[in-house]
């Protein structure tokens, strides 16, 4: 059975080109394509600044990390950004070990991520 992941979307006040995306569940090889489609749809709709709330993201593997890097690159190419907040310590360790810290914009909380929006 595919791993369960749910995405919830919210507008970001004062930023018409931004969207808050809450990731809920596990991000792995069984559901990356679904997540890819949904987030790319946002980028294509002009929401080039994405803030990903990982507060309820329990697990991510290397495949999941791969698409996060892809989101980051794609958002930057469109003049935007992909920011991540509220990463739990286990997921943080994976990002750190795999060497992706310098490639992703990670914030302790949503307030800091939003404050960093241009």
């Amino acid at each position: 059975m595919d791993s369960q992941i749910k995405l919830e979307f919210e507008d970001v006040k004062d930023h018409r080109d931004a969207k808050l995306v809450r990731f809920i569940g596990d991000l792995d090889a069984t559901n990356v394509e679904t997540v890819l489609e949904k987030v790319f749809a946002l980028l294509c709709d002009g929401y080039v600044n994405i803030i990903a709330d990982f507060g309820k993201l329990r697990y991510v593997n290397s495949t999941g990390l791969g698409i996060l890097l892809h989101f980051s690159k794609s958002a930057q190419e469109k003049g935007g950004s992909f920011k991540i907040a509220n990463v739990n310590e286990n997921v943080y360790e994976i990002i750190e070990i795999i060497g992706a810290m310098s490639l992703l914009q990670i914030y302790d909380n949503l307030e800091e991520a939003m404050a960093a929006l241009k």
Partner: protein, 264 residues
């Protein structure tokens, strides 16, 4: 039920373990007999005792105190006393008296013996899963590995790392199998109180095998992910999370073996 009967035997499954079976009322009148039983056991140099409580109908505080004294004496001799097969009323009474914080409680004798082997003999337990070569089965396998590690006393961090190792190795096995392969992926977890050994065996695709060999020989620590590297470096991550990784290639199949030591 009435007068207490006490039976002392050695476990057939583990002769070094004494099974002390109580039948009847553990009341104030039985205190002397309880004490004598423990004395006899210690004199025979048998120090690990499982008390079979399945026949106990009543437990007084004084009798419990005597049993606790018996445990203390066993512990002083390097052993232990655990309780098994408690009825709900007896278990409830023990909990109310706080004795569940002193005694380890087991549902049956076999669980008590397995716990002894786990802790004192370093015995490992082996679990084997066989799953079709499809990614959708991997989440269940990794979550099982994580819960198993947690049940066996591994920290949450260790359980997460083990889950990740299983996930990455299984995903890799499936992605590198021949496209038309129907051969199941075999995942074996061997866990003891010091380490977990993870083995995954699957069919090999000769072309993909070559890619895997090149990827592994080039995998560095830490990996150097790039933005373009959409799929990530699963096995490189396994190398970093585990305490050992080896892979056997053959035309018959690929075996990936990882070891994860329990963090102290």
């Amino acid at each position: 039920m009435g007068q207490l009967r006490i039976e002392v035997t050695q476990s057939e499954a583990a002769p070094e373990i004494t099974v002390l079976r109580f039948e009847g009322d553990l009341d104030n009148a039985s205190i002397r007999n309880i004490g004598s039983s423990f004395q006899l056991i210690i004199e025979k140099n048998s120090t690990y005792v499982v008390a079979d409580m399945s026949g106990v109908s009543m437990l007084s505080s004084a009798a419990l105190g005597e049993i606790m004294g018996g445990r203390k004496a066993l512990v002083e001799h390097g052993g232990d006393l655990v309780l098994a097969c408690l009825s709900l009323p007896i278990k409830t009474k023990l909990t109310l008296l706080g004795a569940n914080r002193i005694f380890r409680l087991h549902s049956d004798i076999r669980s008590a013996i397995n716990a002894y082997k786990w802790e004192f003999e370093g015995k490992s337990e082996v679990f084997t899963l066989s799953m079709p070569p499809a990614l959708r089965f991997v989440p269940s396998a990794r979550q099982f590995a994580s819960r198993l590690a947690g049940l066996k006393g591994y920290s949450r961090r260790d359980a997460f790392r083990i889950e990740t190792i299983v996930d990455e190795i299984c995903n890799n096995a499936i992605e590198h199998a021949p496209a038309d392969s129907k051969r199941n992926v075999a995942l074996t977890l061997s866990i003891d109180r010091r380490k977990v050994e993870i083995n995954v065996i699957n069919a090999s695709d000769p072309v993909k095998l070559e890619t895997l060999r090149r990827m592994l020989s080039g995998a560095k620590e830490p990996p150097q992910p790039t933005i373009e590297d959409r799929r990530g470096r699963g096995l490189a991550l396994v190398k970093l999370l585990s305490n050992g990784l080896d892979i056997d290639f053959s035309e018959q199949g690929t075996r990936v073996h990882a070891t994860k030591l329990k963090e102290e």
